[in-house]
Amino acid sequence: MGIPWGDGLLLFRDGFRRDVAVAVLLTILLGIAVAAGVAWATDAYFGETVTGLLGEAGEYDLIVQVREEAKGAARAEMGRVLRQLPGAKVKEGLAIAGKVNFFVALPAELRTRRVFESIGTYFNGLPGYAGYTFIIEPSLTVRGVPAGAQPLLLPQIEDLPGVDFAFRHGESITAVLKDAGATSSVNASLRRLLRRYQVVEVRLPLGYQTEDLPALSERIVNRLRDQFHPRTAVDITGGEGGDDFQAFVSTLAEVRRFLEGYASRVTVRLQGWEPLRPGDEVVAQGSSSVPPVVGERVRSDHLRVRIQAVEGQTARGLVVEGDPAPYLQSGAGLDQAALTAYRVVKGDEIGPQVGLIRVENERWRIIRNLEESLRMVEQLHGLAAEARGASEEVLAALEAYDRTREELRQAQEVLQQVNAGLEGPLAQIRQSDVDRLVAELNRVSTSIGSLISQVEGVGAAPAPGQSELSSVLNRLNPVVQILAGFRKQIDLFVVELQGFSRLSRSTGVVRELLGQMEQAAGSTLEAMQGVDTATLRLQLTSVLERLEALEQLDVAALKAQLEEIKAALPDLRDEEIGRSVRLIDQYIGGETLPGQSLSLLLDRDLEPAALKAAIGREVKSDRVSLFALPVGSVEPDVRGTVLHLLNSVRGTIAGLVALVFTFLVLLLDHSTVISALRRLSERRCRGANRRWWQWRPDASWLYGPLAGAAIFTGVYLGSGGRLPLLPAWGAVPVGLALGLLTSLLAERVSPVRDEQILAGEAVGLTYAQVMREIVIPAGRPGILQWLNRRRQKFK
């Protein structure tokens, strides 16, 4: 069949090719004029507007913004402010977005770093004050300079040729130039300066604990200096603390930490070979009556847990759905089925078993403890009274103890006297001595008995003062045991003694008995004297005083306070906490928290990978994240920025006009040519019974895209068009696409009848004559038709 578009190309013989070429060329020139003209008009209009807004170049130094409703008061106050800046002028500008702009011009002597750095202090007292913007001209501003890096950069900027002085404001350094002509050279110098540095933000791994961040930072800097020998290695972390956003993120991080501490801590003891990773979800029975079944869907009352960390065979996570209460209340009493955790797969399906679940919750413990405390407080007065009674009993026991000791000492004296009276071979014990001795020993025995019963009675002391009482009783108890033994000895001795008068025992035997008794009394007395009853009494007195203070407590108020604390505890469900933590993680980037990051100012040529390795070694973790950022970016002054913006707008408008213009021209002019080409190409294939896959492009499919590419590329580049995301070379494919679209639409827009072409051919017209006399005049009005009129014989 030959080239399918061979017949179509016949159209371009006999001079019509030149007609088309001239038309395309003229179209491009006209398109450039139209696109550039519209863009220029827009540019000029907005340029005028900028001058109207900002005044002439260099006229004003700053714009002070005031809320519109306070305009009158601010205007009045402005006079007072300007008296502090003698020679300064002010002009009230337009109100934009509810704010009135006051343009302030400072005299030359006040255009200094000191004044500019403190300019806010002059104006922040204005009613409705809403901030200020520097519009100093000529100037260049380096934005996004971390506060810590500013002291290093400022003097270097001031040393640049063409810079008059520089000043800091917020995260920016503005270089005021000596002359507008120096703008481009200073701009280049600033960019070169900034290219020498990089800000490296080091984020320490989650959970990394360090008591002294500055010290760590210093260690890291020293290591980097030792390893890389950079010209600059400075810790600038501290200089960034004042940033509002950092504060906000820090607060969020604290909220996250609070929530995590407050939430149920779920631990999954992993079993088998089913690995878990952070971010996976597991499910357990929870408060549901139905345990999870592999392959079924997760129920809403199942306990769903999102895994946060996995260490060895233990995974930790947060509840994201369901109620963990059964695990907290029943603890280990739950059966195996309830404790088994399963992986969640495919979003909502119960997967294989992964391990056993355990849930702990500090909030639940706090509430339990508060409830206990409330019960305690209610019993406090009663307990204090009981403790007081017990303390008084112990005091009484101490009294009895002292008394018993005294009586024992007296009994010992009597024993000694009686024993002394038995000196000599013929000495015999007298009845009166025996009676006296018996009476004395019975008294001691009675006292000991009384003391023992008193001490035993004190045994169950209540909580308040319990430790002190126990301490006293613990001191007394061993002695009381000794006393109990001694009392038995006394009772036996008394029985023996009462028998002496009847049995007339030998003096030797009596003396031996008396000696044994005397020895026992001596050792018992010695044991009793080992207890410092005075100190014990002082302890008890102190306990009594405290108990007295306890009894005076306003228990009702205390109870109310505890109730209030209990009520004040956030009523958050675990799934709410889990979701909140997930949201915060998403917002603050998950693994690292503010406060756990460092900022370093380093030479630009240091490789982040090498830095990361060195820092990782210093913090002993390979999970350090590292971000290398530029130290700032150079921006022109406000007018320059606006003009730059306008230039972009101009480019965009030119690009859009080029796009519309090209499409219109293609539709109006070239769709006729495309239709004619298609008629000629089709004539060869007429009647061919083709399937869709046998379709082949004819000349019209070549002509449209080529014309589109030529026209759009020419107009777009010629008019300085700049569409977002469309580089210069991108004009070609866009033009091709426009041409292709035109090829698709051509026969609807400008249909050409084959009969008319045939009529021309039949009477011996060339294709160019057919186009000039028949096809183009019958087409849509356009440049091609307009040009054609000159060559047309039948007008």
Binding site: N689, L758, A759, E761, V763, F794
Partner: protein, 272 residues
Amino acid sequence: MRVEVKGLKKRYGRTVALNGVDLKVEEGEIAVIMGPSGCGKSTLIRCINRLVEADEGEILVGGQDVRRMSPTELLRLRRRVGFVFQHFNLVERLTVLENVILGLVLSGVKRSEAEQRGAEALRRVGMARHLYRYPHQLSGGEQQRVGIARALAQQPELMLWDEPTASLDPIMVREVLDVMQELTATSHPTMLIVTHEVPFALRAADRLVLLDRGRVVEEGPPSLVMARPRSELGRRYRDLWQAHLADLSQQEIAGQKRTISACRRKLAQAGS
């Protein structure tokens, strides 16, 4: 201008339009090509001035092989060949006269001379009163007469007629056939006429060519073809012609009866 076609073949995709056509038409001869729809008549006639490119074969017009002509030679040939289309193919934006002289003026004839020749051609087809009308202001028959005038204005040595009456209603067919009849009787260019009008063909043709499925199945003087057709197609045309003649006889008898009745009525009236 003599026309000779040898082994002409043309396909449109899988469709065979002409399958080896051989044909000779002597200078000044009127050849009428007939055949069923889709048999390749229009393709054949369009191949002769290369409005359609043939695939194989030879087309000799005035002794020159049309298929080997350069573009310039082809243009020159077309200016000597008149072509009348089935659908008139007039340029809508041009007047009747402009349509007629379009080819002349663009081939270099002076405008005044072209207009004179155009007006004359239009007069011959009875359209002298409509020189400055536009095609859409004319009836179908009038438009076809303009189409014929356009061909005549070329002062052609060969006229190709591609079913000139096929798009017209019966009344307009009569208008156009009258013009054609007059032209065939008075003009002497070689003519190739594609038509379905059997009576016209038999009256006007020097040679009748029957075409079927892309081949010439029968050709010769019309009287011979109708008297002794050798092909099925020829027999069908003969039957058609005889039916037409019978119909005409019936009409004549009815007309004579009506005349006699009218005379009798007049005589009766005169007698009374």
